[in-house]
């Protein structure tokens, strides 16, 4: 029995002494506010106070808690109360998975230093990683001694209000339930045995004898998958097995599933399982996979080409070209590094299966899970937990099919939690790209032609490879008027980790190439880098390379104009600093981007339902999963104003496939635009019904007191007694953005609207060491309409931090950087001062003019940083990440 003081109260717990305190707090004492992100002291999500000093609970043996004062996020204390209020007011909690650790680390500081400096705060929270916020709002929140939240808006005033996120309170209290935070007490545990080889054949021995010897409930193989042993994003490309059948194509592929009591499952050594491996040479990288004579990895993909994408307009070869620039560019695998590893549980039900897990796409999970179970989709219910970050990585199923087949086999609830390494080794990544591109301009600096050939390493399985291959050709020439374009892309199978969706679907990689070429052309023409972009910026009435006319909401010129004073100031600062400086040099860079909101030329509808019940409750049934970006809040704000009742009267049912309609996946920057529009339509629909009951015009004002709904217009007020109505009042809203198919040359209307942005970056380079410190980033982004400016800016901050990581430090190497100390993401000390100009060029299709925000923010950051490094040093980097040794080699090695 280990006894200590927990949040001021004595506790005694029976726990293995070597069990990390994080585990004892969560599983032994039920305090799941302390999160586990890495079990290695790399992420700080489990930060608690031990005798008043912050510690990673995952590094503390429970035995060492004996006699200690342990304080967790569940504690009550004035400093914690202030931090919670400040985190809410500033939007410092997005997904919320790092929030408890962040608050505890900040509390450690504030309990000792009442009025800390910003640097002190950064040092205090430097050991806690956040992947959503870019840290800026966290630093603001910790420094805010007297936080004041924006009051909840009146009826009709929700849109544009910078209110705190509606689902924020549980996140700052530590009571939000993520994938690992709850499961039925009787649930068995599941652990997946994964291939240590990138390519291998294997045979299995006597599993039943092994099962008995190890005391497990079951050892599952591919033979235990009741339906087709295949999943995958594309309807025609279910190429990934739930459990491999004698053959693996990447390190980390699932081979067996061990099911049993926790202690039994966790004690199993892979070495004692009867698996005989026959390793094969693997194909690593697109060059190996497309080489003459390379083995074919999938029967349906000759030459290992999964899919090709193309776009042609005009005639690149005969286009006028006063100047041209070309180059070859390389990007790495990038890991999403959400702080919440995949987790959840499945429960067999009378009719089928219920899966409770973190996800970005509940309806897609339902379809995939039902298929592998051999059940109709309606037999499966997906109940998403809070999602501790996604960024595209939780669009694919991970734990869901495994849990479902295990729960089916055991006929009991089964739970599982991926380890950090398992998450990194087995789930999708950003596609590494190998890009060859060429761009031309006339003597005035007007772009005339652009051509790109890009190979994307899609890894062992298709996942979202086709989406990347199709989205890139549309966007690759950048947000510019370019009359002649020829883009060719391929997604290539290899024996690397599968690559899938990651914030931008290939567009960030292409933007690195294109924006570098734009700088090349500016240099050749002697033009300022801002000037050449402004001269070519696509705008209202222009035609895109796919032949689409931009009729509205095309605010790139306004973005660039907003940046101009910042750009000029940066150039002046650089010139002043660099005078006479040889080693420490500043540089300014700039880049632009555009990004189509929603699926590429594919239907991607959302449907919303809002119900005003006879008991006076007003409920929005919203199937859009909020992965931290704030869709629950934003969609609520939209629906409230469409209906005309105050937001604080709403309650929300979110993302349960049994209770909400399909609002599509949380991806492609579509939830505000598509689901928001559906929520707008639902709100309007309910309003029409109410106005019809009251025989009132659309200018009427609504108010709700108890079960009395009052409709007031110029003719006076009319009261509707809800409880006397024969049925609840419902509004139904549906929206599918208008697009057309792309023809064989990529011509058509792939997206209903596009986001636009420009960013400039100021960097300091130590030319002796090759290190880069990003000092300032100024972003200007056309968001159509900022439904909630706090959340909108939060998305931009987070995108910038991820773009910075892409540019400077992030490189996933299968088998080598499978943890968060070898794979680096930005810390609180790496993110620069960020200034944001919100440009609002309204999108007529969007709700109240809004369009997508999330992905666009990331796209221009890396190329702007590369542009700035070049400005500082004169060297052009064509490979990311620009690790210190790579920049040093570019500077010093000939």
């Amino acid at each position: 029995m280990i006894a200590f003081t927990l949040n001021g109260k004595p506790v005694e717990v029976e726990a293995p002494p070597f069990a990390p305190l994080s585990d004892t707090l969560r599983e032994g004492l039920g305090l799941t506010g302390t999160k586990v992100g890495c079990e290695a002291g790399d992420c700080g999500a489990c930060t608690v106070l031990m005798d008043g000093a912050q510690a990673c609970a995952c590094l503390v043996p429970t035995a060492q808690a004996q006699g200690a004062q342990v304080t967790t996020i569940e504690a009550e204390h004035p400093v914690l109360a202030r931090l919670r209020a400040a985190f809410l007011a500033h939007g410092a909690a997005q997904c919320g998975i790092c929030t408890p650790g962040m608050i505890m680390a900040a509390a450690d500081l504030l309990l000792r230093v009442e009025m800390p400096t910003r640097d002190q705060v950064a040092d205090a929270i430097g050991g806690v990683l956040c992947r959503c916020t870019g840290y800026t709002k966290i630093l603001d929140a910790v420094l805010d001694a007297a936080p004041a939240a924006t009051p909840m808006p009146e009826a009709g005033a929700a849109v544009g209000a910078a209110i705190a996120r509606l689902d924020g309170a549980p996140k700052v209290l530590g009571t939000d339930r993520f994938g690992a935070d709850a499961a039925p007490a009787e649930a068995l545990w599941l652990r997946v045995v994964r291939s240590p080889h990138a390519a291998a054949r294997f045979t299995l021995g006597d599993l039943e004898a092994t099962r008995v010897k190890l005391g497990l409930a079951a050892i599952l193989t591919h033979a235990d998958v009741p339906g087709p042993n295949a999943f995958g994003i594309m309807p025609n490309l279910k190429d990934q097995p739930v459990l491999a059948e004698g053959f693996v194509r990447f390190r980390g592929e699932a081979v067996l599933a061990l099911v049993g009591e926790r202690a039994a499952v966790e004690a199993v050594r892979d070495a004692e399982l009867p698996i005989t491996w026959h390793p094969l040479p693997g194909l690593h990288g697109v060059e190996a996979a497309t080489a003459e004579g390379a083995p074919q990895l999938h029967a349906h993909a000759p030459g290992n080409i999964l899919v090709r994408g193309r776009l042609t307009c005009g005639d690149v070869d005969s286009a006028p070209a006063a100047v041209s620039a070309e180059g070859t560019f390389r990007t790495a695998f990038v890991e999403h590094a959400y702080i919440e590893p995949e987790a959840g549980y499945a429960v067999p039900t009378d009719t089928g299966m219920e899966v409770v897990a973190c996800t970005q796409a509940p309806y897609m999970d339902r379809e995939e899970t039902a298929r592998v179970l051999g059940l109709p989709e309606e037999a499966v219910r997906i109940r998403p937990t809070a999602c501790g970050g996604g960024f595209g990585g939780k669009l694919d199923v991970s734990v869901q099919p495994l849990l479902a087949i295990a729960a089916r086999k055991a006929n009991r609830p089964v739970r599982m939690i991926y380890s950090r390494t398992e998450s990194m080794a087995s789930t999708t990544k950003r596609h590494p790209a190998l890009i060859r591109a060429r761009m031309s301009a006339d003597t005035e600096g007007r772009f005339t032609a652009y051509a790109l050939e890009a190979d994307f390493n899609t890894g062992a399985y298709a996942s979202w490879g086709p989406t990347v291959a199709n989205r890139v050709p549309v966007h690759a020439s950048g947000p510019y008027r370019v009359p002649h374009v020829r883009n060719r892309t391929r997604a290539v199978y290899t024996n690397d980790t599968p690559a899938g969706a990651f914030r931008g679907f290939g567009v960030p990689q292409a933007a690195i190439a294109t924006e570098t070429l734009v700088d090349d052309l500016a240099e050749k023409l002697g033009l300022d880098r801002w000037e050449i972009r402004r001269r070519n910026a696509i705008g209202h009435g222009d035609v895109t390379p796919s032949g689409q006319v931009l009729h509205a909401s095309a605010g790139l010129p306004e973005c660039l104009d907003a940046l101009k004073p910042d750009w000029d100031a940066m150039l002046a600062e650089v010139a002043a600093q660099n005078r006479g400086a040889s080693r420490h040099r500043l540089g300014a860079g700039i880049a632009c981007m555009w990004y189509g909101c929603g699926n590429t030329s594919l239907s991607n509808p959302s449907r919303m339902r809002v119900v005003l019940s006879r008991d006076g409750t007003l409920t929005l049934f919203n199937g859009a999963v909020d992965i931290g970006q704030g869709s629950t809040t934003v969609i609520g704000q939209i629906c409230a104003d469409a209906l005309g009742l105050p937001l604080d009267r709403f309650r929300f049912v979110i993302g349960d496939t049994a209770l909400t309609h399909d609002a599509g996946k949380t991806s492609a920057s579509r939830q505000t635009f598509v689901s928001g529009r559906a929520a707008y339509e639902a709100g309007r629909d309910l309003r029409r019904r109410i106005l019809a009951l009251a025989n009132a015009g659309d200018d009427a004002r609504l108010s709700l007191e108890g079960t009395t709904l009052t409709v007031t217009d110029a003719h006076g007020g009319r009261r509707i007694a809800l409880e006397a109505l024969p049925e609840d009042l419902e509004g139904d809203g549906h929206y599918d953005p208008p697009t057309t198919m792309l023809d064989a040359e990529g011509q058509g209307i792939p997206y209903a609207t596009y986001g636009f942005a420009a960013q400039c970056a100021l960097v300091a380079v130590d030319t002796a060491l090759g290190t880069v410190k990003v000092r300032r980033i100024v972003a200007a982004q056309d968001v159509g309409r900022a439904i909630n400016p706090t959340l909108t800016i939060g998305q931009i901050h987070g995108g910038i931090a991820q773009g910075l990581g892409l540019a400077l430090m992030e490189e996933f190497i299968p088998g080598r950087t499978e943890n968060l100390h070898d794979y680096l993401i930005p810390t609180a000390g790496d993110v620069p001062e960020i200034k944001v100009h919100l440009i609002e060029d309204p999108e007529p299709e969007g709700p109240f003019g809004a369009k997508g925000v999330g992905e666009p923010a990331l796209v221009p950051t890396a190329p702007a940083i590369l542009s700035a490094i070049r400005h500082a040093t004169g060297v052009t980097l064509r490979q990311v990440p620009v690790l210190p040794h790579r920049l040093w080699e570019a500077l010093h090695v000939r």
Binding site: C56, V60, P196, R269, T421
Partner: protein, 280 residues
């Protein structure tokens, strides 16, 4: 269940150590990540654990006749807060760079030595401080110079029946010290290269120089040729002294963090920066 011993005396701890193969745990900041890494690929077993944190008296920093004795349970944070002369400024600088605040609050300085990672941030500093490791064993206590204690990549001279109980740091008159670390991000970063130095300065000239480089060889190394070259040099000129040849004994590797060629050059830059900083 993994066996776990938490004795209340050193004698008991030594008896447990002598009775079988156990992993000694103090701050836990290296033990758990290693366990996690093995578990991730299907090796969940762990040696029995000997927790020495309940043994009284091991967490003190004491002045001795010859200098200071830093107990094996002294954490990075405790060292940083201790009243110590400028001789310790380099080690204190390292205490701000090891992991995050959470690791600094739990991880011990001696634990960093025993892990013996080439990238251990404490090791170059302790080499420059000419630290000796106090080792308790069945036959009594022995003192081993740190350079002899560290025998290779993640290897030490600690025997299976011994426990390292303290570090001894000799006094040095008119000393100043510093530490510079190079990593690819601001916090929570494993060093690409680092340089630590202790200088005794008399009337503006270097009377004694001790310079060590970490993460550029299997074991961090002192640079005797450079130290000799620095002796007698005016402090203000010290940064001009280091040349590539002084670092010839380093054997940096290519890994995910940097190339070998870069490490070699970066080490030279860091040494010069270190000396510039010490002259400021």
């Amino acid at each position: 269940m993994i066996a776990y011993h938490r004795p209340a005396s050193l004698a008991e701890a030594l008896a447990i150590r002598a009775a079988g193969d156990v992993a000694v745990i103090a701050g836990g900041t290296d033990i758990y990540p290693a366990h996690t890494a093995r578990r991730a690929w299907g090796e969940p077993t762990h040696k029995p654990v000997l927790d020495i944190t309940a043994i009284p008296g091991l967490n003190r920093i004491e002045k001795t006749e010859a200098g200071w004795r830093i107990g094996c349970l002294v954490t990075w944070a405790a060292l940083r807060c201790a009243a110590l002369p400028p001789l310790f400024d380099g080690l204190k600088a390292a205490s701000r760079e090891v992991g995050g605040a959470q690791v600094q609050n739990r991880g011990t300085i001696l634990g960093n030595v025993i892990t013996a990672s080439p990238a251990g941030d404490g090791i170059p500093n302790l080499l420059a401080l000419e630290a000796r490791v106090e080792i308790a064993g069945p036959g009594g206590t022995r003192l081993l110079p740190l350079a002899e204690f560290l025998t290779g990549y993640r290897a030490t001279a600690l025997r299976a029946d011994e426990i390292a109980t303290a570090l001894h740091i000799p006094r040095l008159a008119e000393a100043r010290s510093g530490f510079v670390k190079l990593g690819a991000r601001r916090h929570l970063v494993i060093s690409i290269a680092m340089a630590a130095g202790v200088l005794a300065v008399q009337r503006g000239r270097i009377a004694e120089a001790r310079i060590a480089i970490g993460a550029c060889s299997a074991v961090a190394q002192r640079l005797p040729a450079l130290e000799a070259a620095l002796t007698g040099v005016a402090l203000t000129q010290a940064a001009e002294v280091p040349q590539a040849a002084h670092l010839a004994a380093l054997s940096p590797i290519n890994d995910v963090r940097a190339s070998a060629a870069y490490r070699r050059e970066a080490a030279l830059v860091l040494v010069r920066d270190l000396l510039r900083g010490l002259a400021a």
